[in-house]
Structures are given as C-alpha cells and as structure tokens.
C-alpha cells in the first residue's frame, strides 16, 4: 500500500532547561513523545511533594506509607523521597508559612529550605504559602539565602514583580502560574521577561484540577500552549509543571468507603497516576505527586512511552 507517513514537523521547540547535572527537562520539538515526528529530547520528570510542617489533612493511607515520624521532619522526607522513592525533583511546598497556619517567618523558612538543599542533591522547587504580602517576604529571603540554585514559585499575574526580581538577583528558576488560560499565561510570561528575567529560566504552571475536577480544561489548555510553542511563539516555549498530588488527595472520590469502588488505597494511587499520565500526554514536563507507588507507575509509563529510540 503506497502512502507517505503523515509526519509533522514544527519550527518551534520547548526550551530545554538543565536543572542539575542529572536532570534536564524540555527540549522537545514535537507533541509529548511523538518520537515518530521528531526529536523528543528529555523524559518528563517526576517530583515528590514534601512540606515544612506535618500534613494533617492527608488521608491516612498516604500518611501510613510515609510514616508519621518521617512526615514530621522535612529533611527526612526529602531524603526518603529521593533515596527510597526515586524522586527526580523535590517540591518543597511550605504550607507552614501561611499567616493563618504556623506563620513560619521568612528567616526560618529560608533555613528550612537550606536544610533540604543540603540533604539532597536533586533540584528543589520552593513554594511559600500565604497572602501576597507574606509570600513576598518569603520569596525574597529564600532567593537571597539559597545555598544553591532553586526553582521558586509561583509568580502570578497580580504578584510577579517581587518574586521575579528576587529570582533574577539570585540567579534562580521561576515558575509562572496562570489559571488555566493560554492568553493570561502568555501575558504573564511577557510581563516577567519585561523585568529582564530570561525566558530560558521560566517554567509554566498552567494550574490543574484533579481528574473529575477540571482536569480536562488543563489537558486542552496545555495542548493549545504547545501548539503555540511549536508555531514558534517565543513567549510560549518554557517547560510545563503540573501539581497533581495536591489536587488528587483532597477529592471525594478517593475517600468513598464502598466495595463497589474498589480498594480505597489503590483508588487514590490510580487517581493520582491517571491524572499525571493524562497531563504528561498533553505536555507536562514535570508532574508533582505524593504517593511513592504513583512514582513507580508513572515512571513505567514514561519508559514504555519513550521506548522507541529517536530516529
């Protein structure tokens, strides 16, 4: 049968970012793992989320795998995440800095961060919590005092100045977060680069809802972002990160106690894995998860998906 393989070649390319000696992300010139079209470059990376304080509202099954003792100590968590569970990247979500929670000071937050940076050699994403005023204080301190290069998040449309300036001064990477919206994302990237922050050091967070809670909007927004990347839009080529764990483990469907829905523990892992895989298929370069078994399953998926050598 005579036919030409309908290969599609694009001009644009996702920015490749070297996060550490071992971990590089992005660089692809094709839709996620369309190796039959062209160069796929780096595999998507899997990040594990850890916190600065004990995560009370995690479901029991999740607390159990980690162990309550480990969960109390951020450094232990980071080590376990990397050494035992095989995280490529640590996502340090500092929920304890929120003014209505433990209200951890910016100095203390920076110290917590440095302890993590010392304990593991993987790239570390640092994200404070709280109102903009509080976040700004923490951003500034962390960027200033970090003992090595970090990835700091998140710059928003309404609050990108302080964080962009701090990240620039400290030579860090920056996450730009927009609410599931292609145009706002582009606008934000432009605003940040207008502050002289290099586009080569931006990672985009398109925001995601969990499966069943807005996942499908993110799925399509990421495909649209990538279409713009490949059509060579210079402001739309940063890699994409999706925070899957925090959207998964709070939803109702994984808490139902009913035989019909299968084992509750497995359901949580399946939900997290499925959301992450769906997002990888639509362009995520980093997925952030919580359960160690999800990491293994997502890795297996990535390996099989990337198994054809690039022609």
């Amino acid at each position: 049968m005579e036919f030409e393989k309908p290969v599609e070649q694009w001009k644009g390319k996702v920015q490749e970012i070297k996060l550490s000696d071992k971990i590089k992300i992005g660089g692809e010139q094709v839709f996620p793992n369309y190796s039959f079209d062209g160069k796929c470059s780096n595999k998507p990376a899997v990040a594990i989320e850890i916190n600065d304080v004990f995560p009370e509202n995690w479901p029991e099954s999740l607390k159990e795998v980690w162990g309550n003792d480990t969960l109390k100590y951020p450094v232990d968590r980071a080590k376990k995440a990397v050494e035992k569970y095989g995280a490529d990247i640590i996502f340090f979500d500092m929920i304890g800095t929120h003014q209505d929670r433990e209200n951890i000071s910016s100095e203390k937050a920076a110290e917590n961060m440095n302890n993590i940076l010392k304990a593991v050699d993987s790239p570390v994403i640092v994200r404070p919590d709280g109102n903009f005023e509080k976040q700004n204080k923490v951003f500034t301190k962390c960027c200033e005092l970090a003992e090595r290069q970090i990835i700091i998040g998140s710059a928003h449309e309404d609050n990108y100045r302080t964080i962009s300036a701090s990240a620039l001064a400290g030579n860090h990477f920056l996450i730009a977060e927009a609410p599931i919206d292609v145009n706002i994302q582009k606008q934000l990237n432009i605003l940040i680069t207008q502050m002289n922050f290099p586009i080569e050091r931006i990672i985009m967070d398109p925001m995601t809802g969990g499966l069943g809670y807005g996942f499908e909007y993110t799925y399509s927004v990421m495909e649209r972002i990538r279409l713009q990347t490949f059509m060579d839009d210079p402001f739309m080529n940063p890699p994409l990160i999706c925070c899957v764990g925090q959207e998964t483990w709070k939803i109702k469907e994984i808490k139902i106690e009913d035989k019909k829905y299968g084992s509750k523990a497995d359901r949580g892992i399946n939900w997290e894995t499925t959301t992450a895989i769906g997002l990888i298929l639509s362009g995520a370069n980093i997925v952030v998860v919580r359960h160690p078994k999800s990491v293994i399953k997502i890795r297996n998926f990535i390996d099989s998906l990337c198994s054809t050598s690039v022609k």
Partner: protein
C-alpha cells in the same frame, strides 16, 4: 473534505430571504462552514447542493452504531485532532474480556462482577459497554453456550474474539447483529463470506499500518463498510504512533481507508497505561483483560472528562430544586448551575438528615469560584436569582445559605435582600451535613 464558507455560498440560492434564521445566504454559508447549522435549515436549497454539502459534512471517520438495550451507542464520526478544536464526538467504548473456558460457576461469577461495575457521577451512568468473549476452549458448543448466557443476562455489546467461521456462523444466529463485533477472526476470507450480507462490524487486525491499509482497501472493494482497525503494538510509543498516523491520514490527508474507528487491545502488564492513551489518543474501543473496580472507576471518570465538550461545560437549568422533601421551614441553599457543583452539593444535602431547597443560579455552567471571578455569581446576580425564583411563597423564613468560598458577596447580597439573613456556609460541600445539623434546628 470540508468546504470553505465561500465555496458553500456559491451553492446556495442567493435569495437572502432570511428563512434560515440568518439575514443572508452568505451568513448562512459561514454558519455551515463553522458546522453550527444544518443545510436543511434553508428550504430552497437545491438537491444537488444538498448532496455536495452532505458529502462534505460526512465525518472523515466512519460512524458505526450499536444497540445497547434500549439505547443506541455509536463509535467513530470524529472530525478533529484535538478536542479543543471542537469536541471528540463518541466516547471510547470500554470492553472487559472474559474467557469461555471458565467453568459455569466461575463464568457466572465473572459476569456478575462485570455487571456490577456501574457508577453514577455528575448525573451520568458510567459503565463498560462491551464484553469481549474470548474463544479459549476451541469448543463450539461451549462457546455458543457462554455467548447465550452473556446475551441473555446483559445488554452489553459483545465482541466475539478468536473465533473460527464455524462458530461465527452459528453465533450470529444467536445474537442480534446490532450487538456484535468480530475480532481476531481465524479465517478472514471465509468469515467475510458468512457475514457478507449482514452489517456486522469486523475488526481487521494487522502488524503495521501498511499491512492494515492494504487489507482495508481489499475489503472495501468487496463492499464491506463496517470496518474497525486494529494494529498490534510492542510498547506504548507504537500504540501512540499508530493511532496518531491513522487519525492524521483520515482527517488531514483525506485518506479514506484510514477513516475507520480503532480498536485497541490493552497490553496486559500496563493495562491502565494503554487504556489512557487509547482514550486520549483516538481509540474508539479498548479491551481490558485485567480489571479491578478501583482502576475501572478511575478510567471511566477519565473518559467522562476527555469526552465532555470543551466549549460547553455540563450544566443544569437554573431554578429551585428540591432535595428530599423540603417543607416551608427547610433551609434554602444557593449554588451555581455547573453540573459538577450541583451534583456534589445536592449529594451532600442528601447525606444530611435535613431536606432542603436548592436555588440554582445561572452562572453559565461555572464552578463557584470561577463564576465569582467571571462576575457571574455576584451578590447582585444571586439576589436577583432568589427574588425571581418564587421561593418566597414556599418558605416561611428569610434565610439563605451561600457557599463559603464566596463569603465576600454577603455584603452586596444583604444590600440586595435587605430583609434576609445571609448565612455563610462552609467552604467544602462535605461539611454541609455537619453545618446543617449545627445551624438548622
């Protein structure tokens, strides 16, 4: 191939009479090109134009329709590469496989298990629609007996897998031909003779695209129309590549032989993984061999997400809804008309012991916070919705509970409803039962 607006315009009568509900033929042509109108809406359109437009409107991927109990289910008819371009039309059917060499008890149990996988989510029933009956025994009578059990005890579409022509010949006498698909037939030529005057869909299996398209051309020439495509794969990358190439060939290159629905037999080791690719990337049927309720429920939700129309979120009509049997002293709760929000909130009210009146505000199908950000759930809008709902005649109090996430609208709402007491509920719907118990005595 799709026609442009101008090409369509040339086919129209150019009377500009407006009977198609737009003022001019040109405007109508544009609507047709955008696929937001049907050619039948113009009463003066010529037969010839109708034919051309009809052909141009036939989706590049063949539609095949099955009977599923009282309902009809279709596959194919897809028109786009990405769901944001329009929408994916017919959702991927999920088939669970069962082998015929189980003994009678095991078989009945397995069947019961499969039938129990039914879930309700956001007002929709989620379930696998097909059963694949695999011929392992190679014993005709046994196979037919198992087939009869499935066809009488379920309404699912049945995939006859690995059968030889002798079995097929009798099987198709037993079951409604609108309910079966033939997969991995052992002797294709002979089977085709048997089904040549039926409409039974047949899967053409191949090792690669070239081989597949050759087969398709051959059988198209023999007038087989209900073809389904299937290519073996060694890893997920091959699955992805084959599906993408087939879809591109049919949609972008107008390659007719690639324009049929695809069936994917999920790889055993990482079944969930191939299933997810199949659902996102163009498979019309996936067959699962090992399945548990926890993975199926996840997968069914995933499918529901991918196949919602990205241009219109699932929404329900605005107005007053009753949850349980509320009376004049029952609480009044407001929320938006986004289906997901409605089903979560009404579900939680059902979980509480208190029946309630639920006032659904038209927020263009957006969630509470999304609607608030888009100014579709302001104090003004919520207030008007309550005043216009006619609820005042039904209750003997003037208290309304608003979602915790929009506590911020309570001031504006008080201005709008000066005689009312505005109660700010909890943020998460799961807290509603506890909240009602405490506050509504």
């Amino acid at each position: 191939m799709a026609l442009t607006g101008l090409e369509i315009f040339k086919l129209l009568p150019n009377k500009n009479c407006g009977e198609c509900d737009v003022p001019t033929c040109l405007a109508f042509a544009m609507k047709l090109a955008g696929k937001i109108a049907e050619p039948q809406a113009c009463p003066y359109i010529s037969d010839e134009a109708m034919e051309i437009l009809g052909a141009a409107q036939t989706p590049p991927i063949k539609k095949i329709t099955f009977k599923n109990g009282e309902k009809e289910i279709s596959i194919g008819a897809e028109t786009v590469m990405f769901r944001h371009e329009k929408t994916f039309v017919n959702q991927t059917l999920i088939a669970l496989e069962i082998a015929d060499n189980l003994n009678d008890d095991e078989f009945e149990n397995e069947l019961k298990r499969i039938e129990s996988y039914k879930y309700e989510r956001v007002g929709e029933l989620l379930e696998p629609e097909c059963i694949s009956l695999k011929n392992e025994s190679d014993d005709k009578n046994n196979y037919l007996q198992k087939l009869e059990i499935i066809s009488s005890k379920t309404e699912k579409i049945i995939i006859l897998s690995d059968c030889n022509p002798e079995i097929i010949k009798e099987a198709i006498q037993l079951v409604d031909s609108k309910r079966i698909i033939l997969n991995r037939v052992r002797n294709l030529e002979e089977t085709l003779n048997i089904i040549s005057d039926t409409q039974i869909p047949i899967v053409l299996n191949a090792k690669n695209i070239e081989e597949l398209l050759e087969k398709v051309e051959k059988y198209e020439a023999q007038n087989f129309k209900n073809i389904i495509l299937s290519i073996d794969f060694n890893n997920l990358n091959e699955l992805l590549g084959n599906n993408v190439f087939l879809r591109r060939l049919s949609i972008k290159k107008g390659f007719k032989s690639a324009g049929y629905p695809i069936l994917t037999e999920c790889a055993k080791e990482d079944e969930l993984h191939s299933a997810i690719i199949g659902i996102c990337i163009y498979s019309s049927i996936i067959i699962l061999k090992e399945f548990s309720s926890s993975s199926l429920f996840t997968l069914l939700t995933f499918r529901q997400n991918i196949f919602t129309d990205p241009q219109k979120p699932l929404q329900i009509d605005a107005g007053i809804y009753q949850v349980g049997e509320p009376d004049e002293s029952s609480p009044l709760i407001v929320t938006t008309n986004f289906s997901l929000t409605y089903f979560i909130v009404s579900g939680e009210i059902e979980n509480s012991i208190s029946p309630a009146w639920l006032c659904i505000v038209d927020a263009e199908g957006m969630s509470v916070l999304t609607a608030w950000s888009a100014n579709k759930f302001s104090g003004e809008i919520v207030g008007n919705a309550i005043l216009n709902s006619g609820i005042e005649g039904k209750i003997n109090h003037k208290k309304v509970i608003i979602p915790g996430y929009v506590a911020i609208i309570s001031g504006e709402l008080e201005d709008k409803l000066p005689e009312w007491e505005i109660l700010v509920g909890p943020q998460e719907a799961a807290e509603i039962p506890k909240y009602l118990k405490e506050i509504w005595k």
